[in-house]
């Protein structure tokens, strides 16, 4: 797993591209590439967003397994979900995250969009995927592409297990 991620920060308020940011596993932010006027604001905001570390909350069972309560899980840097969670947390604030456009990424995105148009997913779900696409990490995009390709093949050729 990479030990850092780089992306562009878009300020939601005015959709301005503030510049490139990188985050490493220790949650150290490099905002030196961003526009100067936004650096202080970004540093403060990131400090605030991640002050409690990287964690998620979910609905889990209590000890008796019948009732439920909120539980939280800390995502460690070694966890596969670490960077997706970091991106989610940034994207939940006043910034949008966009990854640099590479030829490979562009092709994957194009393929996903094409496959999505014929996928069986409900329209609402498709919209959700579309909304999130640009802020997904490369491995997430590849996973989605793989799933959609598999679905297309199953629809076309039937169950993989029965395919001769």
């Amino acid at each position: 797993m990479d030990n850092s991620i780089s992306f562009h920060i878009i300020r939601r308020m005015d959709e301005r591209d503030i510049g490139p940011v990188s985050v490493n596993e220790g949650l150290h932010f490099d905002v030196s590439g961003t526009i100067e006027e936004a650096r202080m604001e970004l540093s403060l905001r990131f400090g605030e967003i991640f002050s409690g570390g990287v964690s998620v909350m979910a609905h889990g069972p209590d000890a008796d397994d019948d009732s439920h309560s909120l539980i939280s899980k800390t995502i460690l840097p070694s966890d596969r979900d670490f960077f997706p969670t970091v991106i989610d947390m940034i994207d939940s604030s006043e910034y949008r995250v966009v990854f640099p456009e590479t030829e490979e990424r562009k092709q994957i995105l194009e393929s996903i969009v094409t496959l999505l148009s014929t996928a069986t997913l409900e329209e609402g779900y498709k919209r959700m995927v579309m909304e999130k696409l640009l802020r997904l990490l490369d491995w997430q995009l590849k996973d989605i592409l793989k799933t959609l390709t598999e679905e297309r093949d199953v629809l076309k050729y039937g169950n993989k297990n029965t395919k001769k």
Binding site: S51, V56, M57, G60, L70, D88, V113, L121, Y125, M130
Partner: protein
Amino acid sequence: MEHKPENIEGELSAKELEALNQEKLQWRRERIRKQTTAKIGAVLFSAWVAMGAISGTIEKGAGEKGRSRTSISEVLREKEKKLPLDFKWLTDYLGRSKRDAQKPEAKKGTLTKGGAIESRGVTAPRKEMVQTQEMIEANAEMERIEEMIRQTEAKMHASTLWFEYYPSKFAYRKGEESKQEKMGMSGPISYVEFVQWVKKRPEAMQKEQGPTLQGFELANIKSEEFEAYLKAAYPKSWLQHISSITYTNRAEKMGPDYGPNLQDWQVCGEMDRERGSIEFFADCKDPNKLLKSLSHELGHSVDWNKNKVMSLEERLQFQQKVLERVVAPDRFVSEYVESIRGTESPKEDMRLRAGEYWAVIVKEYFAHPPNYWNGGKDPGRLSPKDLELIKWFFAKTDPDFDVLSHKKAHSDYVATKLSGGTITPPKLFIQTNHKPNG
């Protein structure tokens, strides 16, 4: 009991066979859709799903089964109404025309080819779960709660409650779907337990010890006396939200977070909800000022964001009530709250103003309860609707609390501990109708 032959297809007419094939195709397509939905959901919400797997409610991955109408997509759909996202932005990004992007690659008719495959050996349709009246009522209740969230979201920037509700619902749904899968069932999910959880109050806190106090000697306050004052003056549940209170002898400025109007203001105290800690700074070195600010900071600790006594539903209601008050013509006008503007967005302004409005009216309520000063003739500065909100709040959290006990403890403490007995506490305690339910 009617006996059906095993080879049922042999007994059917061509038309009936075709209808059966169509039904099987439909089931197959539905099964594939659910599998795809679950797999993609596992990528998009992997952290939540992983968490569910740890806690045991959710099976590996996103569960073998998924319903595509997720809460998140519902929310996004709502968001899209306000911020039309559709395909355009992405197709623009990819340099493709919208028409091309939406043009299907292959006709869905390919499925008909699969019809032959499906004619034998197809997975039997699952048993459909029956929607009970209880489930219908739970869905209606959930819709009401989500409408409340949507109304709030339209007014202010992402609330912490939003991030508690939707991930929880997502994880719950995954758990329920997994249970259904094991039972070979299909159909509507029961949200009865989820709605019960949203309405359920947390277990009563067992915390006996009060907050740890540090640095108060620097402000000429004795920690033991201050601790006794805290216990006497504030509602029981409030102190359970606080782990530490610290005084630091350094000046602190507001900075840019609350907008340009306030960035040069000195900070008197601040509350960290995550840690449950309050820190006072040099601007609050005067103990009287510190005590007033304390009510404000304690107010933050029990607001909707991290209130440990109220249910999630009550916290949502609480937030909504305060949001209504912040913009009401008869609101309590304070220079501080009114100066919060020009942050990154109007919705962020509103989020900050709502939090501060609550803390400001709490401070005002403790300092100037209605019909307390001036021999009980002073009605106070809070509007009846703000008082109604405060009463509603205490009815939920500390129904036995009486603000008169705060005033008495405050007067005693100021008179005997801070002023060396030179201040005479007010002699008239006329008003007795401060009880939240009174």
